[in-house]
Amino acid sequence: MIPGQFDYHAPTTVQEAVQLLQEHGDEAKVLAGGHSLVPLMRLRLAAPSVLVDINRIPELRGINRTNGTVTIGATTTHATIERSEVLKRVLPMLPAAATVIGDPMVRNRGTFGGSLAHADPAGDWPAVALALNAEMRIVGPDGERTVPAGEFFVDLLTSAVEPGELLTHVSIPVPGGNVGMSYQKFGHPASGYAVTGVAAIVTLYENNYCLDCSIAITGAGTKATRATETENALRNQTLDEATMAQAAEQAGTGIDFLGDIYASEEYRQQLVKVYTKRALLAALHAANEGQSAEAQKTL
């Protein structure tokens, strides 16, 4: 179908964009990759009368590494992340996860910031950003604020970005030490979105002793969620398959599970356990292999 009528603006600075959003209020929507927004408009489930296209704002695009932080601009595409040599070295879970988002067309258009701001419960990036303790920089009429990933995903399709605001950058601390990370996903056969996706990061001391671990889950419930109980059960433990499998049993705690015609709540509970275990195993494996990008590929 064809979307309803709308006015189109393509500002070149963040200031201009925020001004336009301010000016048009509820009527306006940010257009990034358009791969979530445009389908909704075509189905006429969304009918904004103003679109503010942020793709021509140079400062919103690109990947930067400074000291211990990687900063990713909101309009950086999935494909750019997929191919980033820097990320493959320091945050290999990001390019690995990018490869399982949709198909090449989706990855060429869809953006990191758009995916996060949209807060689709089945999106892949929310779990990855959450597990990596990302920080979101949001610019609005009153200036800039920073929201930690743990507070960013509010509810189904609702993020901390308020109308009139723009998510500009995402900062991710590069974890130090002997770290392994992996994103494991059970994709929907039709949409490709995550029926369940689990991002896991483990930081090891000698002999697989777990100094820290971070696990986030998407797809299963209304929003991306940290598996806090599983994390707690693994910290300061020696990691082996049995320990991780046992801890993964608790991974669903705190998730407001969703069910649909493809996968019921009960089945998603099972997937969360299985994929948490798989992600942990893969992360452990990656840490043991010295965190190479290759090790991030699915087990």
Binding site: I2, L43, H188, A263, Q270
Partner: protein
């Protein structure tokens, strides 16, 4: 010209360059001055009365030409004949019933997606905006979407004259079924569902109608598999002389059966075009396609076999409940299932029954295989259950029951006469290719080991009926320069007959393949024809081409005889030249003969010209067959099925174009596998579609499928000059039971007997939980 025989050769498709370079013209590519665009307001309810329609806001929008309701158009056409879509014979007793629908529905709607208002505007965008402004006052009625519930006493009734919502019941019984079941060593029975599927061709439906003020007629471009059938239906419906209606199927982007016969839009657009004197265009959106284009399958079957100790099946019972949706679009399909119920087996006694049920859902009609995939699924699943019950190998049970090669032509208890077959050959070949024995050993090892993915091996032997009549046609015309134009009555919608038919003509006429053009899909320039459906293009249409080519060749030989001063009997076509037997140095090319055929000095006893027409009526149906093997692995903790290997050995008789056959097999496999593992149209109790977009409805992708291993056996049919059977639906028919059998085979250690399709991970996982 270097001469090479083209039949059976690896010839590239003539169609591909234009398709690959984006130069093909589909309905949506037409750009006719003055065209107005039509958007349709469709029912959001599964069952409702229309209490009123307010079109005023929409009609007053800039760019809107008119907003039209069903009422407005009633006097301008006859209600639509419903039984036109489908394969096999069309029952004739429906015409007077209330079970017709209109160009736009009037008073009442019976499924989500029925069109009730047409908005006509200068652009599609404006038309869609205006359609949002049409206000329909609905009175929702209780709806029933489940075929079993539809038969209950308290179910809402779709048609007053059809109590219990039963459209018709068809029965057939042969032999003493009760005795066979009474004396059986075992009775093996199972309820199985062949779930509802959507067609989803790459190109949806599309219609552009242009009035011809000069004649009062109309030209209709429509994305159809059967333009001649459409014209015949439209003649009645539009009350226009048949020869003033021109139906053109331009490039058609797939059909899979859902583009046979006319839909409401096929009437609506010409009616609007005539009423407003303007070209009118409607292009289906994918959302519309999911609810307004017919679905397929949708059957529940109770199937049972009477079995002797050695595995011999002595009788078969098949009782089908067929959900035909809200209107009887193709009520003959469940009967086709019954007619193929016994598959490749010698089963002397049958009790067959099909009950068609109305529900508040999109009508069900032909979809790749139309009735035969269901039959193959039931019998091939049942054979595995028989093997299970008796502790036999599934291949052995099948061999025990095969119709032997010397029994053909073979009259089945279901009433078919199978033309030719040698069923053990493809099975043996498929098992060899798959290294069946080694697979079974590996399976045994894994089962003892008890860890890792479950391994399953499935097989199925399929047979189907195809090459439906009543006829197909061809004109073969040699122009003076020696180019050849073939006009065929079949209307390809992606199959590639431009290539196959040119191969036939090149070989049979000594024509240059590159200078042969095959024209199709236009009722004004092609002879009366039927269309592409039921795997009939080559067997029936190709046979007409052979016949017409033969006539032209006879005439070319006569002209050559005159030119070479020899007797016509002495002329042979050899190495692409017409020559006197034994004198190869004095040969004539087709071009030289064609030049003479239109020349002044042609002798008086030879009529000028070099063309011929042939209508081929197939004496009987043809019955291709084959055997497939699938290897699957299942994850124990998620139930996810991985299809690892697939072997398909198919027998469609001689292959004119191996490349095209291979393409049909690959596509067919994808669709059949997809029914087994992925696809299902899901309705809720109120008749709302829950799988209404491609985000929910899983169309197979390359990454879902393994590399296919294909092979052939060749058993010609005696029923046509090519010996060819059909291949279009074959692989779809064979693959669905093969994959399901493989999954159930993998689950044997869990004591799981059957799971209904699609075998989504959750279902498999639950089955493993017990």
């Amino acid at each position: 010209m270097a001469y090479a025989s083209l039949i059976g050769a690896q010839v590239k498709r003539k169609e591909d360059p234009r398709l690959i370079t984006g130069m093909a013209t589909y309905v949506g590519d037409l750009d006719i001055p003055g065209t107005h665009h039509v958007a349709l307001v469709r029912s959001p309810y599964a069952h409702a009365n229309i209490r009123g329609i307010d079109t005023s806001a929409a009609a007053s929008m800039p760019g809107v030409l008119a907003v039209v309701t069903g009422e407005d158009l009633l006097s301008e056409y006859e209600p639509m004949p419903m039984e036109s879509s489908g394969e096999g014979e069309a029952p004739q007793d429906e015409r007077d019933m209330e079970h017709t629908h209109h160009a736009l529905s009037v008073n009442r709607v019976r499924h989500v997606g029925e069109a009730v208002v047409a908005v006509i505007a200068t652009s599609m965008a404006i038309a869609q905006d205006a359609a949002d402004e049409v206000i329909v006052e609905w009175e929702p009625l209780p709806a029933v979407a489940d075929m079993q519930k539809a038969r209950q006493d308290d179910a809402p009734l779709l048609f007053r004259d059809r109590p219990g919502n039963v459209e018709r019941v068809w029965r057939k019984s042969t032999g003493d079924v009760d005795a066979a079941f009474g004396q059986a060593h075992r009775v093996v029975s199972q309820r199985m569902v062949s779930q509802r599927l959507a067609g989803i061709p790459m190109e949806g439906r599309a219609v552009l109608a242009m009035p011809d003020p000069g004649t009062g007629g109309v030209t209709i471009w429509t994305s159809t598999q059967a333009p001649h059938l459409s014209r015949k239906d439209l003649e009645r419906t539009l009350r226009l002389p048949e020869n003033l209606i021109r139906v053109i199927a331009p490039e058609v982007g797939g059909g899979f059966g859902v583009k046979i016969g006319i839909y409401p839009e096929d009437i609506l657009l010409p009616v609007l075009a005539k009423r407003f004197g303007l070209p009118m265009c409607w292009i289906e959106t994918r959302s519309e396609h999911m609810v307004a284009t017919t679905h397929g399958r949708a059957q529940i079957a109770d199937v049972a076999a009477a079995v002797q100790e050695d595995g011999t099946v002595t009788a078969l019972r098949l009782h089908i409940l067929a959900d035909i949706g809200a209107y009887p679009q193709a009520p003959g399909i469940p009967k086709l299932t019954c007619r193929m119920a016994t598959g490749v087996y010698r089963i002397p006694a049958v009790d067959l029954q099909a009950t068609n049920v109305f529900t508040n859902t999109t009508p069900v009609a032909a979809y790749r295989g139309a009735g035969r995939p269901e039959a193959a699924y039931y019998i091939e699943r049942l054979m595995d259950l028989v093997a299970d019950e008796l502790g036999m190998d599934p291949a052995e049970v099948r061999r025990k029951n095969f119709i032997p090669p010397d029994a053909f032509p073979y009259d089945t208890a279901a009433g078919e006469t199978y033309d030719s077959g040698e069923y053990d050959k493809p099975l043996t070949r498929a098992l060899e290719l798959a290294r069946y024995e080694a697979l079974r050993k590996e399976q045994k090892r894994r089962r003892e080991d008890g860890s890792g993915n479950l391994l399953g091996i499935g097989l199925a032997c399929w047979v189907e009926m195809c090459g439906f009549g009543p006829f197909e046609s061809a004109i073969v015309r040699v122009e003076p320069s020696g180019t050849v134009t073939v006009f065929t009555g079949v209307s390809p919608h992606g199959q590639g007959q431009e290539t196959t038919f040119a191969q036939i003509v090149a070989d049979h006429l000594g024509a240059d393949f590159d200078r042969i053009v095959v024209r199709h899909g236009d009722t004004r320039e092609t002879p009366m024809g039927v269309g592409t459906m039921g795997s009939r293009g080559l067997a029936v249409g190709g046979s007409a081409v052979v016949r017409a080519t033969g006539k032209v060749r006879d005439k070319a030989s006569r002209i050559a005889a005159h030119m070479l001063e020899a007797a016509p009997e002495d002329i042979v076509l050899q190495d692409g030249k017409y020559q006197v037997r034994g004198a190869p140095d004095r040969g004539l090319t087709l071009a030289e003969i064609a030049d003479e055929a239109y020349d002044d000095d042609l002798p008086d006893d030879i009529e000028p010209g070099l063309e011929a027409t042939s209508f081929f009526k197939p004496p009987e149906l043809v019955y291709p067959f084959g055997a497939h093997v699938a290897v699957v692995e299942i994850e124990r903790d998620t139930g996810k099925v991985h299809l690892c290997e697939y072997f398909s050995v198919d027998d469609c008789g001689p292959r004119i174009s191996p490349v095209l056959v291979e393409g049909q097999v690959h596509g067919g496999l994808a669709q059949g596998i997809s029914q087994a593992l992925f696809e299902e149209v899901v309705y809720d109790q109120e008749g709302q579609v829950l799988s209404g977009t491609l985000m929910d409805y899983a169309v197979p992708r390359a990454t879902h499928l393994p590399m296919f291993t294909t092979a052939e056996t060749v058993t010609p049919t005696p029923h046509n000059p090519l010996g060819a059977k059909g291949i279009g639906e074959a692989a779809t028919i064979g693959s669905t039971p093969t994959v399901v059998n493989a999954v159930l085979d993998a689950l044997e250690p869990f004591g799981v007997r059957h799971i209904d399709m699609p075998l989504h991970p959750e279902k498999v996982w639950r089955a493993m939980q017990g």
